[in-house]
Protein backbone atom coordinates (compact mmCIF):
# COMPACT_ATOMS: atom_id res chain seq x y z
CA UNK A 1 0.00 0.00 0.00
CA UNK A 2 1.36 3.40 -0.89
CA UNK A 3 0.95 6.09 1.70
CA UNK A 4 -1.68 8.67 0.97
CA UNK A 5 -0.95 12.35 0.48
CA UNK A 6 -2.69 15.60 1.22
CA UNK A 7 -3.60 18.19 -1.38
CA UNK A 8 -4.50 21.80 -0.71
CA UNK A 9 -7.38 23.15 -2.79
CA UNK A 10 -5.65 26.16 -4.41
CA UNK A 11 -5.09 26.55 -8.13
CA UNK A 12 -1.68 25.62 -9.43
CA UNK A 13 -0.18 27.83 -12.10
CA UNK A 14 2.10 26.95 -14.97
CA UNK A 15 0.43 23.58 -15.66
CA UNK A 16 -1.54 22.55 -18.72
CA UNK A 17 -4.48 20.18 -19.22
CA UNK A 18 -2.58 17.40 -20.91
CA UNK A 19 -3.85 14.30 -22.68
CA UNK A 20 -2.46 10.83 -22.13
CA UNK A 21 0.95 10.66 -23.81
CA UNK A 22 0.28 7.23 -25.33
CA UNK A 23 -3.54 6.95 -25.43
CA UNK A 24 -3.91 3.21 -26.13
CA UNK A 25 -1.31 1.99 -23.64
CA UNK A 26 -1.70 4.66 -20.97
CA UNK A 27 -5.48 4.26 -20.84
CA UNK A 28 -5.07 0.46 -20.63
CA UNK A 29 -2.67 0.82 -17.69
CA UNK A 30 -4.92 3.35 -15.95
CA UNK A 31 -8.01 1.24 -16.57
CA UNK A 32 -6.39 -1.78 -14.94
CA UNK A 33 -5.61 0.36 -11.90
CA UNK A 34 -9.22 1.61 -11.73
CA UNK A 35 -10.48 -1.95 -12.23
CA UNK A 36 -8.23 -3.13 -9.39
CA UNK A 37 -9.45 -0.24 -7.20
CA UNK A 38 -13.10 -1.22 -7.69
CA UNK A 39 -12.40 -4.96 -7.49
CA UNK A 40 -10.56 -4.54 -4.19
CA UNK A 41 -12.26 -1.65 -2.41
CA UNK A 42 -10.04 0.66 -0.41
CA UNK A 43 -6.75 -0.37 -2.02
CA UNK A 44 -4.57 2.60 -3.04
CA UNK A 45 -3.23 3.00 -6.56
CA UNK A 46 -0.60 5.53 -7.71
CA UNK A 47 -1.74 7.07 -11.00
CA UNK A 48 1.12 8.33 -13.18
CA UNK A 49 -0.54 11.19 -15.05
CA UNK A 50 0.59 14.81 -15.40
CA UNK A 51 -0.97 16.98 -12.70
CA UNK A 52 -3.79 19.15 -14.08
CA UNK A 53 -3.84 22.94 -13.54
CA UNK A 54 -6.71 22.57 -11.07
CA UNK A 55 -4.95 21.14 -8.02
CA UNK A 56 -8.05 20.09 -6.10
CA UNK A 57 -9.12 17.83 -8.97
CA UNK A 58 -5.80 16.01 -8.87
CA UNK A 59 -3.92 13.82 -11.32
CA UNK A 60 -5.72 10.59 -10.37
CA UNK A 61 -9.21 11.87 -11.20
CA UNK A 62 -7.98 13.66 -14.32
CA UNK A 63 -6.45 10.37 -15.42
CA UNK A 64 -9.71 8.53 -14.67
CA UNK A 65 -11.67 11.05 -16.75
CA UNK A 66 -9.28 10.68 -19.69
CA UNK A 67 -9.49 6.89 -19.41
CA UNK A 68 -13.25 6.43 -19.04
CA UNK A 69 -14.94 9.34 -20.81
CA UNK A 70 -15.76 9.90 -24.47
CA UNK A 71 -18.54 11.11 -26.77
CA UNK A 72 -20.93 8.59 -25.20
CA UNK A 73 -20.58 9.87 -21.61
CA UNK A 74 -22.15 12.75 -19.72
CA UNK A 75 -20.44 14.44 -16.80
CA UNK A 76 -21.98 16.49 -13.99
CA UNK A 77 -19.64 18.84 -12.13
CA UNK A 78 -20.21 20.24 -8.63
CA UNK A 79 -19.77 23.99 -8.20
CA UNK A 80 -16.59 23.69 -6.11
CA UNK A 81 -14.74 21.84 -8.89
CA UNK A 82 -16.39 23.51 -11.85
CA UNK A 83 -14.40 25.94 -13.99
CA UNK A 84 -14.47 27.03 -17.63
CA UNK A 85 -10.94 25.64 -18.23
CA UNK A 86 -11.96 22.22 -16.84
CA UNK A 87 -15.08 22.11 -19.04
CA UNK A 88 -13.05 23.15 -22.05
CA UNK A 89 -10.35 20.56 -21.35
CA UNK A 90 -12.88 17.75 -20.86
CA UNK A 91 -14.66 18.59 -24.08
CA UNK A 92 -11.41 18.94 -25.99
CA UNK A 93 -9.65 15.81 -24.70
CA UNK A 94 -12.56 13.37 -24.31
CA UNK A 95 -15.53 14.73 -26.28
CA UNK A 96 -17.70 14.09 -23.22
CA UNK A 97 -20.77 16.24 -22.72
CA UNK A 98 -21.25 18.30 -19.57
CA UNK A 99 -24.73 18.00 -18.09
CA UNK A 100 -26.55 20.05 -15.47
CA UNK A 101 -28.86 17.13 -14.72
CA UNK A 102 -27.28 14.76 -12.15
CA UNK A 103 -29.89 12.09 -12.90
CA UNK A 104 -28.60 12.01 -16.45
CA UNK A 105 -24.90 11.85 -15.60
CA UNK A 106 -22.66 8.83 -16.14
CA UNK A 107 -20.01 10.46 -13.98
CA UNK A 108 -20.21 13.18 -11.35
CA UNK A 109 -17.22 15.22 -10.25
CA UNK A 110 -17.48 16.44 -6.68
CA UNK A 111 -15.86 16.75 -3.27
CA UNK A 112 -17.09 15.49 0.12
CA UNK A 113 -18.00 19.12 0.88
CA UNK A 114 -20.13 19.55 -2.24
CA UNK A 115 -21.80 16.16 -1.81
CA UNK A 116 -25.42 16.58 -0.81
CA UNK A 117 -27.67 13.54 -0.26
CA UNK A 118 -30.47 15.44 -2.00
CA UNK A 119 -28.67 15.60 -5.35
CA UNK A 120 -30.71 13.16 -7.49
CA UNK A 121 -27.91 11.10 -9.06
CA UNK A 122 -28.98 8.05 -11.08
CA UNK A 123 -29.08 4.90 -8.95
CA UNK A 124 -30.07 2.53 -11.76
CA UNK A 125 -33.22 0.43 -11.71
CA UNK A 126 -33.85 -3.00 -10.20
CA UNK A 127 -33.73 -4.48 -13.72
CA UNK A 128 -30.79 -2.32 -14.88
CA UNK A 129 -28.83 -1.29 -11.77
CA UNK A 130 -25.82 -0.50 -13.98
CA UNK A 131 -27.57 2.63 -15.28
CA UNK A 132 -26.22 4.67 -12.39
CA UNK A 133 -23.97 7.68 -11.85
CA UNK A 134 -20.39 6.92 -10.83
CA UNK A 135 -19.06 9.48 -8.35
CA UNK A 136 -15.54 10.82 -8.90
CA UNK A 137 -14.68 12.40 -5.57
CA UNK A 138 -11.68 14.65 -4.93
CA UNK A 139 -10.68 14.04 -1.30
CA UNK A 140 -8.05 15.56 0.96
CA UNK A 141 -6.72 12.29 2.30
CA UNK A 142 -6.53 8.68 1.14
CA UNK A 143 -4.90 6.41 3.66
CA UNK A 144 -5.40 2.88 4.91
CA UNK A 145 -5.82 4.02 8.51
CA UNK A 146 -8.75 4.12 10.92
CA UNK A 147 -11.71 6.06 9.66
CA UNK A 148 -13.97 3.67 7.84
CA UNK A 149 -13.88 -0.11 7.94
CA UNK A 150 -14.73 -1.73 4.63
CA UNK A 151 -15.75 -5.35 4.07
CA UNK A 152 -17.54 -7.41 1.43
CA UNK A 153 -16.59 -8.51 -2.10
CA UNK A 154 -12.97 -7.76 -2.97
CA UNK A 155 -11.87 -7.71 0.68
CA UNK A 156 -10.54 -10.84 2.39
CA UNK A 157 -11.33 -9.70 5.94
CA UNK A 158 -11.69 -5.95 6.31
CA UNK A 159 -9.79 -2.89 5.15
CA UNK A 160 -9.43 0.53 6.75
CA UNK A 161 -9.79 3.69 4.69
CA UNK A 162 -9.70 7.32 5.69
CA UNK A 163 -10.76 9.90 3.11
CA UNK A 164 -10.35 12.97 5.32
CA UNK A 165 -12.57 15.17 7.43
CA UNK A 166 -16.01 16.30 6.37
CA UNK A 167 -16.75 13.00 4.63
CA UNK A 168 -19.51 11.76 6.94
CA UNK A 169 -22.48 12.72 4.74
CA UNK A 170 -20.90 11.09 1.69
CA UNK A 171 -19.88 7.93 3.54
CA UNK A 172 -23.32 7.67 5.13
CA UNK A 173 -24.78 7.77 1.62
CA UNK A 174 -22.37 5.10 0.37
CA UNK A 175 -23.14 2.92 3.41
CA UNK A 176 -26.83 3.18 2.47
CA UNK A 177 -26.02 1.44 -0.84
CA UNK A 178 -26.47 -1.85 1.02
CA UNK A 179 -30.13 -1.09 1.60
CA UNK A 180 -30.81 -0.09 -2.01
CA UNK A 181 -28.60 -2.81 -3.57
CA UNK A 182 -28.35 -3.61 -6.46
CA UNK A 183 -29.22 0.04 -7.13
CA UNK A 184 -26.71 2.52 -5.78
CA UNK A 185 -23.70 4.75 -6.30
CA UNK A 186 -20.14 3.61 -6.93
CA UNK A 187 -17.44 6.01 -5.81
CA UNK A 188 -13.91 6.53 -7.10
CA UNK A 189 -11.72 8.75 -4.90
CA UNK A 190 -8.75 10.79 -6.01
CA UNK A 191 -6.21 12.52 -3.80
CA UNK A 192 -3.45 14.04 -5.89
CA UNK A 193 -2.03 11.05 -7.77
CA UNK A 194 -3.61 8.45 -5.47
CA UNK A 195 -6.78 6.59 -6.40
CA UNK A 196 -9.11 4.28 -4.44
CA UNK A 197 -12.73 3.20 -4.79
CA UNK A 198 -15.78 2.00 -2.90
CA UNK A 199 -18.35 0.20 -5.07
CA UNK A 200 -21.97 -0.25 -3.96
CA UNK A 201 -21.28 -3.84 -2.83
CA UNK A 202 -19.05 -2.67 0.05
CA UNK A 203 -20.20 -2.73 3.68
CA UNK A 204 -19.05 0.39 5.51
CA UNK A 205 -18.68 0.88 9.26
CA UNK A 206 -17.30 3.84 11.10
CA UNK A 207 -14.32 3.07 13.32
CA UNK A 208 -14.28 6.49 14.92
CA UNK A 209 -17.67 7.85 15.82
CA UNK A 210 -18.59 5.31 18.47
CA UNK A 211 -15.09 4.47 19.58
CA UNK A 212 -14.29 0.78 19.96
CA UNK A 213 -17.85 -0.39 19.34
CA UNK A 214 -18.26 1.15 15.93
CA UNK A 215 -21.82 1.07 14.74
CA UNK A 216 -22.92 0.67 11.17
CA UNK A 217 -23.53 3.98 9.44
CA UNK A 218 -27.12 4.32 8.37
Amino acid sequence: MERGMTVKPEMTTGLVWSALADPAHDSQRLFRQILAALSEPGTLHAIAVAEPPQARLGAALWGALLTLCDLETKIWIAADLDSPPLREALTFHTGARITNDPANADFALLTPESFDPDIPFALGSDSYPDRSTTLLVAVERLENIEGWRLSGPGIAESRMLDIGDGSRALMTRLAANRASFPCGLDAIFGCGGQLAAIPRSTRIDSTRIDGANAGEVN
Binding site: P23, A24, H25, S27, Q28, R29, F31, R32, I34, L35, A36, L38, S39, E40, T67, L68, C69, D70, L71, E72, T73, D106, S125, D126, S127, Y128, P129, D130, S132, T134, G152, P153, G154, I155, A156, F181, P182, D186, P199, R200, S201
Partner: protein, 277 residues
Protein backbone atom coordinates in the same frame (compact mmCIF):
# COMPACT_ATOMS: atom_id res chain seq x y z
CA UNK B 1 0.68 -3.82 -36.23
CA UNK B 2 -0.69 -4.42 -39.73
CA UNK B 3 -3.26 -1.64 -39.42
CA UNK B 4 -4.83 -3.06 -36.26
CA UNK B 5 -5.31 -1.01 -33.17
CA UNK B 6 -3.51 -2.45 -30.13
CA UNK B 7 -5.43 -5.60 -29.09
CA UNK B 8 -7.64 -5.31 -32.22
CA UNK B 9 -10.55 -3.29 -30.75
CA UNK B 10 -10.75 0.46 -31.36
CA UNK B 11 -10.30 2.67 -28.30
CA UNK B 12 -13.94 3.71 -28.09
CA UNK B 13 -15.13 0.10 -28.04
CA UNK B 14 -12.59 -0.72 -25.33
CA UNK B 15 -13.78 2.24 -23.24
CA UNK B 16 -17.38 1.10 -23.56
CA UNK B 17 -16.47 -2.44 -22.47
CA UNK B 18 -14.26 -1.07 -19.67
CA UNK B 19 -17.09 1.05 -18.29
CA UNK B 20 -19.32 -2.04 -18.35
CA UNK B 21 -16.64 -4.07 -16.54
CA UNK B 22 -16.50 -1.50 -13.72
CA UNK B 23 -20.27 -1.88 -13.26
CA UNK B 24 -19.87 -5.66 -13.33
CA UNK B 25 -17.35 -5.70 -10.46
CA UNK B 26 -19.48 -3.20 -8.50
CA UNK B 27 -22.56 -5.47 -8.78
CA UNK B 28 -21.09 -8.99 -8.44
CA UNK B 29 -22.97 -11.61 -10.48
CA UNK B 30 -25.20 -9.10 -12.31
CA UNK B 31 -25.20 -9.30 -16.13
CA UNK B 32 -24.24 -5.94 -17.60
CA UNK B 33 -25.36 -5.40 -21.22
CA UNK B 34 -22.66 -4.02 -23.50
CA UNK B 35 -22.54 -2.98 -27.13
CA UNK B 36 -20.22 -5.70 -28.36
CA UNK B 37 -18.43 -5.55 -31.67
CA UNK B 38 -18.12 -8.21 -34.34
CA UNK B 39 -14.89 -10.12 -33.90
CA UNK B 40 -12.93 -11.89 -36.64
CA UNK B 41 -14.05 -15.33 -35.39
CA UNK B 42 -17.37 -17.17 -35.04
CA UNK B 43 -19.44 -16.84 -31.84
CA UNK B 44 -18.77 -20.40 -30.68
CA UNK B 45 -15.11 -19.41 -30.44
CA UNK B 46 -15.44 -17.26 -27.38
CA UNK B 47 -15.93 -13.79 -28.82
CA UNK B 48 -17.25 -12.51 -25.47
CA UNK B 49 -14.13 -13.65 -23.66
CA UNK B 50 -11.94 -12.31 -26.46
CA UNK B 51 -13.55 -8.86 -26.23
CA UNK B 52 -13.02 -8.77 -22.46
CA UNK B 53 -9.40 -9.88 -22.81
CA UNK B 54 -8.81 -7.32 -25.59
CA UNK B 55 -10.18 -4.56 -23.35
CA UNK B 56 -8.01 -5.35 -20.32
CA UNK B 57 -4.80 -6.69 -21.86
CA UNK B 58 -1.61 -4.62 -21.66
CA UNK B 59 1.66 -4.89 -23.54
CA UNK B 60 3.40 -6.17 -20.39
CA UNK B 61 0.85 -8.87 -19.60
CA UNK B 62 1.62 -12.55 -19.96
CA UNK B 63 -1.39 -14.37 -21.42
CA UNK B 64 -2.50 -17.99 -21.05
CA UNK B 65 -5.44 -19.45 -22.99
CA UNK B 66 -7.06 -22.78 -22.17
CA UNK B 67 -9.92 -24.79 -23.61
CA UNK B 68 -11.27 -27.67 -21.48
CA UNK B 69 -8.12 -27.31 -19.38
CA UNK B 70 -5.72 -27.72 -22.31
CA UNK B 71 -3.43 -25.11 -23.86
CA UNK B 72 -3.00 -26.97 -27.14
CA UNK B 73 -6.54 -27.35 -28.51
CA UNK B 74 -7.48 -25.55 -31.72
CA UNK B 75 -9.63 -22.98 -29.93
CA UNK B 76 -6.95 -22.12 -27.34
CA UNK B 77 -4.16 -21.99 -29.92
CA UNK B 78 -6.10 -19.73 -32.28
CA UNK B 79 -7.04 -17.25 -29.54
CA UNK B 80 -3.46 -17.23 -28.24
CA UNK B 81 -2.14 -16.57 -31.75
CA UNK B 82 -4.73 -13.83 -32.25
CA UNK B 83 -3.45 -11.89 -29.23
CA UNK B 84 0.19 -12.51 -30.12
CA UNK B 85 -0.56 -10.97 -33.49
CA UNK B 86 -2.75 -7.99 -32.47
CA UNK B 87 -1.17 -7.15 -29.09
CA UNK B 88 2.30 -8.63 -29.34
CA UNK B 89 1.96 -10.02 -25.83
CA UNK B 90 4.04 -12.77 -24.32
CA UNK B 91 2.12 -16.01 -23.81
CA UNK B 92 2.59 -18.95 -21.49
CA UNK B 93 1.06 -22.30 -20.65
CA UNK B 94 2.03 -21.91 -16.98
CA UNK B 95 -0.90 -20.95 -14.73
CA UNK B 96 1.46 -19.52 -12.11
CA UNK B 97 3.25 -17.25 -14.62
CA UNK B 98 0.18 -15.83 -16.36
CA UNK B 99 -1.28 -12.39 -15.56
CA UNK B 100 -4.42 -12.94 -17.63
CA UNK B 101 -5.92 -16.38 -18.31
CA UNK B 102 -8.73 -16.74 -20.84
CA UNK B 103 -10.61 -19.99 -20.34
CA UNK B 104 -13.35 -22.12 -21.79
CA UNK B 105 -14.91 -24.77 -19.53
CA UNK B 106 -12.33 -25.02 -16.71
CA UNK B 107 -10.71 -23.22 -13.78
CA UNK B 108 -7.03 -24.23 -13.50
CA UNK B 109 -6.09 -26.71 -10.76
CA UNK B 110 -3.13 -24.58 -9.64
CA UNK B 111 -4.58 -22.08 -7.13
CA UNK B 112 -4.82 -18.59 -8.60
CA UNK B 113 -3.17 -15.68 -6.84
CA UNK B 114 -4.23 -12.14 -6.12
CA UNK B 115 -3.55 -9.88 -9.09
CA UNK B 116 -4.37 -12.50 -11.70
CA UNK B 117 -7.46 -12.14 -13.90
CA UNK B 118 -9.41 -15.14 -15.17
CA UNK B 119 -11.59 -14.40 -18.24
CA UNK B 120 -14.36 -16.90 -18.97
CA UNK B 121 -15.90 -17.48 -22.39
CA UNK B 122 -19.65 -17.73 -21.83
CA UNK B 123 -22.07 -19.24 -24.38
CA UNK B 124 -25.35 -18.57 -22.46
CA UNK B 125 -25.04 -16.02 -19.64
CA UNK B 126 -28.57 -16.28 -18.28
CA UNK B 127 -29.00 -19.13 -15.75
CA UNK B 128 -32.80 -18.74 -15.89
CA UNK B 129 -33.02 -18.86 -19.69
CA UNK B 130 -34.04 -22.53 -19.90
CA UNK B 131 -37.00 -21.73 -17.63
CA UNK B 132 -37.93 -18.36 -19.09
CA UNK B 133 -37.07 -17.44 -22.70
CA UNK B 134 -37.94 -13.74 -22.31
CA UNK B 135 -35.04 -11.44 -21.40
CA UNK B 136 -37.47 -8.94 -19.89
CA UNK B 137 -38.90 -11.65 -17.63
CA UNK B 138 -35.53 -13.00 -16.48
CA UNK B 139 -34.39 -9.43 -15.71
CA UNK B 140 -37.51 -9.07 -13.55
CA UNK B 141 -36.83 -12.40 -11.83
CA UNK B 142 -33.30 -11.23 -10.96
CA UNK B 143 -34.64 -7.86 -9.82
CA UNK B 144 -37.15 -9.51 -7.48
CA UNK B 145 -34.78 -12.35 -6.48
CA UNK B 146 -37.36 -14.82 -7.75
CA UNK B 147 -35.08 -17.81 -7.79
CA UNK B 148 -37.52 -20.45 -6.62
CA UNK B 149 -37.81 -21.88 -10.14
CA UNK B 150 -34.11 -22.67 -10.12
CA UNK B 151 -34.50 -24.74 -6.99
CA UNK B 152 -37.55 -26.44 -8.47
CA UNK B 153 -35.47 -27.45 -11.50
CA UNK B 154 -32.70 -28.88 -9.33
CA UNK B 155 -35.25 -30.63 -7.14
CA UNK B 156 -36.87 -32.24 -10.18
CA UNK B 157 -33.45 -33.81 -10.79
CA UNK B 158 -33.50 -35.28 -7.32
CA UNK B 159 -37.01 -36.63 -7.80
CA UNK B 160 -36.05 -38.21 -11.12
CA UNK B 161 -32.49 -39.41 -10.55
CA UNK B 162 -32.12 -39.42 -6.76
CA UNK B 163 -29.43 -36.73 -7.03
CA UNK B 164 -28.87 -33.39 -8.76
CA UNK B 165 -27.98 -34.40 -12.31
CA UNK B 166 -26.58 -31.00 -13.34
CA UNK B 167 -22.83 -31.47 -13.67
CA UNK B 168 -21.85 -28.47 -15.84
CA UNK B 169 -22.83 -24.79 -15.60
CA UNK B 170 -24.09 -25.53 -12.10
CA UNK B 171 -25.77 -22.33 -10.83
CA UNK B 172 -24.23 -20.29 -8.02
CA UNK B 173 -25.34 -17.40 -5.84
CA UNK B 174 -22.86 -14.53 -5.65
CA UNK B 175 -22.45 -12.59 -2.40
CA UNK B 176 -25.88 -13.74 -1.29
CA UNK B 177 -27.69 -11.89 -4.08
CA UNK B 178 -27.47 -12.79 -7.78
CA UNK B 179 -27.88 -16.29 -9.14
CA UNK B 180 -25.20 -16.65 -11.82
CA UNK B 181 -24.19 -19.12 -14.51
CA UNK B 182 -20.50 -19.88 -13.94
CA UNK B 183 -20.23 -20.86 -17.67
CA UNK B 184 -19.99 -24.56 -18.58
CA UNK B 185 -17.25 -25.42 -16.11
CA UNK B 186 -17.71 -28.81 -14.39
CA UNK B 187 -19.31 -28.42 -10.97
CA UNK B 188 -15.99 -29.82 -9.73
CA UNK B 189 -14.66 -26.27 -10.27
CA UNK B 190 -17.48 -24.47 -8.45
CA UNK B 191 -15.76 -24.44 -5.03
CA UNK B 192 -12.83 -22.57 -6.66
CA UNK B 193 -15.20 -19.64 -7.36
CA UNK B 194 -15.68 -19.05 -3.64
CA UNK B 195 -13.26 -16.61 -2.03
CA UNK B 196 -10.82 -16.86 -4.94
CA UNK B 197 -7.97 -14.28 -4.67
CA UNK B 198 -8.13 -13.64 -8.44
CA UNK B 199 -10.58 -11.40 -10.28
CA UNK B 200 -12.98 -13.39 -12.47
CA UNK B 201 -14.60 -11.77 -15.52
CA UNK B 202 -17.22 -13.40 -17.74
CA UNK B 203 -17.96 -12.40 -21.34
CA UNK B 204 -20.86 -13.59 -23.52
CA UNK B 205 -20.39 -12.50 -27.15
CA UNK B 206 -23.67 -13.48 -28.75
CA UNK B 207 -25.88 -12.07 -26.00
CA UNK B 208 -23.48 -9.19 -25.27
CA UNK B 209 -23.34 -9.56 -21.50
CA UNK B 210 -20.52 -9.12 -19.01
CA UNK B 211 -20.41 -10.16 -15.39
CA UNK B 212 -17.82 -10.49 -12.68
CA UNK B 213 -16.81 -12.02 -9.38
CA UNK B 214 -14.34 -9.78 -7.50
CA UNK B 215 -11.55 -11.44 -5.48
CA UNK B 216 -12.51 -12.83 -2.05
CA UNK B 217 -16.22 -12.95 -2.85
CA UNK B 218 -18.64 -15.43 -1.30
CA UNK B 219 -19.96 -17.78 -3.98
CA UNK B 220 -22.31 -20.63 -3.05
CA UNK B 221 -23.53 -23.45 -5.27
CA UNK B 222 -27.30 -23.81 -4.99
CA UNK B 223 -28.34 -26.90 -3.05
CA UNK B 224 -30.75 -28.33 -0.48
CA UNK B 225 -30.33 -29.24 3.16
CA UNK B 226 -31.10 -32.90 2.45
CA UNK B 227 -29.11 -32.86 -0.81
CA UNK B 228 -26.01 -30.77 -0.20
CA UNK B 229 -23.83 -29.71 -3.15
CA UNK B 230 -21.18 -32.30 -4.01
CA UNK B 231 -18.41 -32.36 -6.61
CA UNK B 232 -17.54 -35.23 -8.90
CA UNK B 233 -15.06 -37.81 -7.62
CA UNK B 234 -13.15 -40.54 -9.46
CA UNK B 235 -12.14 -44.03 -8.48
CA UNK B 236 -9.04 -43.57 -10.64
CA UNK B 237 -5.98 -41.41 -10.29
CA UNK B 238 -4.36 -39.62 -13.24
CA UNK B 239 -2.56 -42.22 -15.36
CA UNK B 240 0.19 -39.71 -16.16
CA UNK B 241 0.93 -37.83 -12.92
CA UNK B 242 -0.90 -39.91 -10.30
CA UNK B 243 -3.02 -36.98 -9.07
CA UNK B 244 -5.93 -38.09 -6.89
CA UNK B 245 -7.48 -34.62 -6.61
CA UNK B 246 -7.76 -33.14 -10.11
CA UNK B 247 -10.55 -33.20 -12.67
CA UNK B 248 -9.99 -36.23 -14.91
CA UNK B 249 -10.88 -36.81 -18.55
CA UNK B 250 -11.35 -40.30 -19.89
CA UNK B 251 -9.28 -40.77 -23.04
CA UNK B 252 -9.28 -43.62 -25.52
CA UNK B 253 -5.75 -44.97 -25.96
CA UNK B 254 -6.20 -47.42 -28.84
CA UNK B 255 -8.84 -48.91 -31.11
CA UNK B 256 -9.25 -52.01 -28.94
CA UNK B 257 -11.25 -50.18 -26.28
CA UNK B 258 -8.22 -49.23 -24.18
CA UNK B 259 -8.79 -46.16 -22.08
CA UNK B 260 -7.28 -44.19 -19.24
CA UNK B 261 -8.03 -41.23 -17.01
CA UNK B 262 -5.79 -38.16 -17.18
CA UNK B 263 -5.85 -34.63 -15.76
CA UNK B 264 -7.91 -32.29 -17.92
CA UNK B 265 -5.55 -29.44 -16.86
CA UNK B 266 -2.52 -30.19 -19.05
CA UNK B 267 -0.26 -27.57 -17.44
CA UNK B 268 -1.01 -28.94 -13.98
CA UNK B 269 -0.34 -32.51 -15.09
CA UNK B 270 2.90 -31.63 -16.89
CA UNK B 271 4.13 -29.57 -13.97
CA UNK B 272 3.51 -32.50 -11.64
CA UNK B 273 5.41 -34.75 -14.01
CA UNK B 274 8.32 -32.34 -13.83
CA UNK B 275 8.29 -31.69 -17.56
CA UNK B 276 8.11 -27.94 -17.21
CA UNK B 277 11.41 -26.33 -16.33
Amino acid sequence: MNGYNFAYLDEQTKRMIRRALLKAVAIPGYQVPFGGREMPMPYGWGTGGVQVTASILGADDILKVIDQGADDTTNAVSIRHFFQRVAGVETTTSTATADVIQTRHRIPETPLRNGQILVFQVPIPEPLRFIEPSEQETRMMHALEEYGVMHVKLYEDIARYGHIATTYAYPVKVDGRYVMDPSPIPKFDNPKLDGNPALMLFGAGREKRLYAIPPYTRVESLDFEDHPFEVQTWEHTCALCGSDHSYLDEVITDDKGGRMFVCSDTDYCQTRRGEVA
